[in-house]
Symmetry: C2
Subunit: 281 residues, 2 copies
């Protein structure tokens, strides 16, 4: 019982456009292209009046699917760790101001010369735990995004959906809410446990966001070589069906980091995204 | 109760030297450098008399830690699949001839235009299952090597130790043997379940091989940018301790695919490997 995707259920993550035009321009472009929502980054907000941005998004008829993204938690000192946590606390306020249902956590990993993923994971758990009460208060979910294991050293010590969900349970054992997961097909498609873990996430109401793009084969860069939906090998539609069968009713958000696409005009990227969301997702 | 590593417990995988000199030269270099064993590739054997190679290895005082590696199982047709299986059956005979305790399986993944990892996994299970009886007969273990998820599209649909061990249990439910795992720190270090899965592998006597190198941060190529032990972020010694606590008594094998190292003289590579095995592993 999974419906065909419609564009008003789709969101554009602003990173997809390469953070070139100011957010006010991007909002208008995204709305004009027919999308239902936008997912802005903190870097888009530098020098902006958040109230005005929020108002413009509403007036453009757009929803907000999420707010990107956290400062990494792991740190080499207590002071740095505390600063990272406070930085994320302020970002939660901004997410609330923008009307975002979730704040996407790319959690970070090895800090300084430390080689212990266990230590990084402990700091991540600690940091998210410290934010939980505030997240609940401002009604913005802390969405842990497991990242592909190829970024385990520098970007995310949380490398699978299973691990992200285990972390949710450690932080929120009573399943009260305020912490969940952002599922990006790019990061989880390879995992043979992905089906079972999506079902688990749904049962516990943990799916805050669903991101799409594609895995190119071969992939030439560990960060900036994501593919447009349909240009790679991921069974995107099957994954969308799984999250929706698991109860997810939110937006399907396109997030593509790609030197190739960032060399193209923003309007062209939006046009191709719109086509591919309908034919490939 | 984990002992300091000694060089006679260490093996050199011939890929580490870039497959430049003929195997007869490589055998002598590895022995002269003080290593206890070698792990040759099928490509090293092209045009060679396997009996003579085997004799030379023995006379050089070297053990054989494994034989690399399988033809990918997944195929676009039944005929191709059958050829892949038969190719691997012949390689098992060669492994036996060389005195290798295991034949390393890099299992392959998506074949042709197929996007189904599930289909690839089914073919892999089928193919290994077809080889099991022969592997037992020639006394060479089929060693499934889970590969890093960044190679899930093109090289290995088996992306974690958990998955490899699940596969062993599907193929050999009574745990008779003949199928196990090759654990390479490069492929498993990121996995938060690695400790528990190494213990599980040990309990079931499934650890056939233990490979070392290092994960460089940043990594610039998905295949050919492995690091020398100590140059990256992997807690190699901790992982060695885990496999040995789990009962593994075999060689510690260095396997480094690296355009950087392959540009250096083979003797230099061996010297640095020997140093780093003792100080970093």
């Amino acid at each position: 019982m999974v419906a065909e995707l419609k564009l008003d259920r789709c969101s554009i993550n602003t990173a997809t456009l390469g953070h070139r035009s100011p957010i006010s321009t991007v909002i208008d472009m995204v709305a004009r292209a027919g999308f239902g929502a936008i997912s802005p980054w903190r870097r888009d907000m530098v020098g902006c009046d958040l109230k005005a941005v929020s108002r413009q998004i509403k007036h453009a008829g757009l929803g907000v699917s999420g707010y990107c993204r956290s400062t990494y938690f792991p740190a080499v000192s207590r002071e740095e760790f505390a600063r990272n946590v406070e930085d994320n606390r302020r970002a939660l306020d901004d997410a609330a101001q923008l009307g975002a249902p979730c704040f996407v956590l790319v959690v970070g990993s090895l800090a300084g010369d430390n080689k212990s993923l266990g230590h990084a994971r402990h700091q991540v758990e600690d940091g998210i735990g410290q934010l939980l009460e505030h997240a609940r208060k401002v009604n913005v979910s802390l969405s842990i995004e497991p990242l592909h294991p190829m970024t385990a050293a520098d970007r995310s010590c949380v490398t699978s959906l299973r691990e992200a969900l285990d972390l949710c349970e450690l932080i929120d054992p009573e399943n009260v809410g305020g912490v969940g997961v952002a599922i990006d097909v790019y990061h989880v498609w390879w995992d043979y446990a992905v089906k079972e873990q999506i079902a688990r996430a749904g049962k516990n109401k943990r799916i805050d966001a669903f991101h799409v793009c594609d895995w190119l084969s071969p992939t030439r860069d560990l960060v900036l070589d994501r593919g447009m939906m349909g240009d790679g090998v991921v069974e995107i539609r099957q994954l969308r069906h799984l999250v929706e069968e698991a109860g997810y009713t939110g937006y399907v958000e396109t997030e593509i980091f790609s030197n190739l696409w960032w060399s193209r005009p923003e309007e062209e990227i939006l046009t191709v995204c719109a086509q591919r969301l309908l034919t490939e997702c």
